[in-house]
């Protein structure tokens, strides 16, 4: 080697913090997995949009209109049949028989999915389900963002260029959070635009006079909550990656936890009363402004399963505390642990 390199006035104090985050963002952008995650987000969003398109397509609506009309036509007969059966039961000895015929209500268009597709409502319902997918992609992205540094050993090289561990770690958390926001923004943007298109394309025949489903809350706020979840998921991926140091293990732990603990054990243990203290349940409560669970409720007369609610406030406070504790733990461990 000739080593004819010039002498540079080497920066001896490192770069500003923002520049360090910028370097991490560039690395995130260069990663193949980032592009794969974006592609998956686009693809799956497209699939949910196609589903929405199909279920609001004129043909589908026409079928539903038909079965609605049939039911409406059959309704008086249904009531009659009911009353007849009740009368028969009373005659054959059971004087108090009540078949609830009076409670039978005429079918409504909404029960048959007969609503005029409205962009806002469609966006809300698609975003609510897609948000979990974006969050999971962001999480995997974050976990492998740091996991790749451990597996390749390049974290050691990195620390010989920037040894201030807290700076290094927090820049990675921020970059992964931003990456999560990016994936979610692309997905949610596509969802909103797609929902609008579907609602335009599938405008039903005005002659049908279908009712319009209105979104029952601010779409903007819902989208912001979905975005926040993706940011937190990206950072959570990095934080868990710092603790576990292996991408596969992190993703395995979280999937295993989701299935075994929240899926099976939560119902089996403590008569379902654990639900309000489980992360995924609270995530749902945050995204969907409250979440229902079933648990045993007891009165002096005995116990029975009842629907209960994890409130929105409970959800966001819980998640905020969990995130703060997680980030502090990850930073503390990253700061002190030997890099082998």
């Amino acid at each position: 080697m000739t080593l004819t390199v010039s002498t540079v006035p080497a920066s001896r104090v490192g770069v500003p913090y923002g520049a360090l985050v910028g370097v991490e963002l560039r690395r995130l952008w260069w990663r193949r997995l980032t592009k794969v995650a974006l592609a998956i987000a686009v693809l799956l969003t497209g699939m949910t949009l196609y589903g929405a398109y199909q279920s609001t397509a004129p043909d589908t609506i026409a079928e539903r209109v038909q079965s609605y009309r049939q039911t409406v036509a059959q309704f008086p007969q249904m009531v009659k049949d009911c009353q007849q059966a009740q009368a028969q039961a009373r005659e054959s000895g059971d004087a108090g028989a009540d078949f609830g015929c009076a409670q039978l209500t005429a079918p409504t268009p909404a029960e048959f999915g007969l609503e005029s597709p409205e962009a806002g409502a469609l966006t809300a319902s698609l975003a609510t389900t897609n948000a979990y997918l974006y969050a999971f992609l962001a999480f995997v992205l974050g976990a492998s963002f740091i996991g790749a540094e451990y597996s390749s050993g390049s974290l050691g090289t990195w620390l010989t260029f920037e040894p201030r561990r807290l700076r290094v770690a927090s820049a990675k958390l921020l970059a992964a959070g931003a990456g999560g926001a990016g994936v979610a923004a692309v997905g949610l943007g596509l969802t909103a635009v797609g929902a609008w298109l579907v609602s335009r394309v599938n405008q039903p025949d005005p002659a049908l006079q279908l009712p319009t489903a209105a979104a029952d809350e601010s779409i903007t706020q819902l989208l912001i909550r979905c975005l926040v979840v993706a940011v937190a998921a990206g950072a959570a991926g990095v934080a868990l990656g710092m603790l576990v140091r292996n991408t596969g293990a992190v993703v395995g732990i979280v999937l295993g936890y989701g299935v075994v603990v929240e899926g099976v054990l939560a119902q089996a243990l403590a008569h379902g009363r654990l639900a309000p203290w489980l992360p995924l349940k609270n995530l749902e409560a945050f995204v969907e402004r409250g979440s229902t669970y079933f648990a045993e409720a007891c009165t002096p007369n005995g116990c029975q399963m009842e629907a209960m609610r994890v409130t929105y406030t409970h959800g966001w406070v819980y998640l905020l505390v969990l995130s703060i504790v997680g980030v502090i733990a990850a930073l503390a461990v990253f700061r002190h642990r030997d890099v082998g």
Binding site: T4, V15, G156, W158, R335, V339
Partner: protein, 321 residues
């Protein structure tokens, strides 16, 4: 003497199968500034562990270390810009190209982008700069690691076994690089267990075994002066008799005599006095290998199994990373 690196009582233990074992045990190391300093020791003697502690990658159990007068790891940020290091083997992102890897590092320290081409050129990697790192040969990986250290224009370069796995041409290239850096006034700390390699390039050396310093100094001093000469004369029998009569232990060795003395002049004088004219007189220096083996066996360190150690009473409480 200006000092680049100093350690005092540096100690690092690992928990292995339930017992604490010292990888580095009260190591006092001094690396003079400027020139090439060999850091020698057999496998597992704690060279890499020491280097990792100097770079803030590992936290010592106790002891102190300085680089250019800055306490490490506490003041490492102030001095890291002057230190370039390759620990154990080059480590980069395998799916990124050499240029991408260098770009990330150079942006992390704020060197101008033009520097990347310069260091790629200097390490003969420019043509392959846009290939993925995973596809590099070992020698190319090693050169990329050197390129990365040169991004900073460091005053101290730490190379941990830099010739591992390289072919003779590669070894020579690295050796020349280190020598050139040393001659330019940089400090090169090179660890190795291949003594011949260090002997040729190092100005000074430290020898460690089982984590402690066994010897240090200039290579020439450690080797000691020549105490034996190989002598070529026409009449071996007569010459041997003359030398032995003068009290110099002499043995025949093929077509030569091996004489044990520190004074080569005495040999030629004695023989010439008897009409025996010396054709060849070669001082036989002990090499670092034998000096090294002598040192390690003297301290009973080479073959002995590692003994568990007691926890140090003066462990550092915390000590920033």
């Amino acid at each position: 003497m200006d000092v680049a690196v100093t350690t005092i009582g540096l100690r690092k233990t690992y928990l292995r199968r339930g017992t604490r074992r010292a990888a580095v045990e009260r190591l006092d190391l001094t690396v003079p500034a400027g020139g090439v300093h060999g850091f020698l020791g057999p496998n597992g003697s704690g060279k890499t562990t020491t280097i990792r502690m100097l770079l803030g990658l590992l936290r010592p159990d106790s002891g102190q270390a300085w680089i250019f007068g800055h306490r490490v790891p506490v003041e490492l940020p102030a001095v890291i810009g002057r230190v370039g290091a390759i620990v154990e083997s080059p480590k980069f992102f395998p799916t990124f190209t050499a240029r991408q890897n260098l770009r990330l590092l150079s942006d992390a320290i704020g060197t101008p982008r033009t520097r990347i081409d310069e260091v790629l050129e200097a390490t003969h990697l420019r043509e392959r700069a846009d290939d993925r790192y995973a596809g590099y040969s070992l020698g190319m990986k090693q050169r990329l690691a050197i390129a990365a250290t040169l991004l900073k224009d460091p005053d101290l370069l730490i190379f941990d076994e830099p010739t591992n796995g390289l072919d003779p041409a590669g070894i020579r290239e690295i050796r020349d690089t280190m020598r050139a850096l040393g001659d330019r006034g940089k400090t090169v700390l090179v660890s190795s267990h291949i003594l011949a390699e260090v002997e040729q390039v190092a100005d000074t050396v430290s020898i460690i075994g089982r984590g402690t310093l066994l010897a240090e100094g200039r290579v020439a001093d450690l080797l000691g002066s020549s105490t034996q000469f190989r002598v070529g004369v026409p009449d071996l029998q007569r010459a041997a008799a003359v030398l032995q009569d003068a009290g110099l232990p002499t043995e025949q060795e093929g077509a030569f005599l091996r004489v044990t003395t520190e004074d080569g002049e005495q040999v030629t004088r004695l023989l010439a006095g008897h009409g025996l004219f010396v054709r060849q007189l070669t001082p036989m220096r002990p090499d670092l290998e034998s000096a090294f083996l002598r040192l390690t066996s003297e301290s009973g360190l080479d073959a002995a199994p590692e003994a568990p150690v007691a926890a140090s009473p003066d462990e550092l409480p915390g000590g920033g990373a």
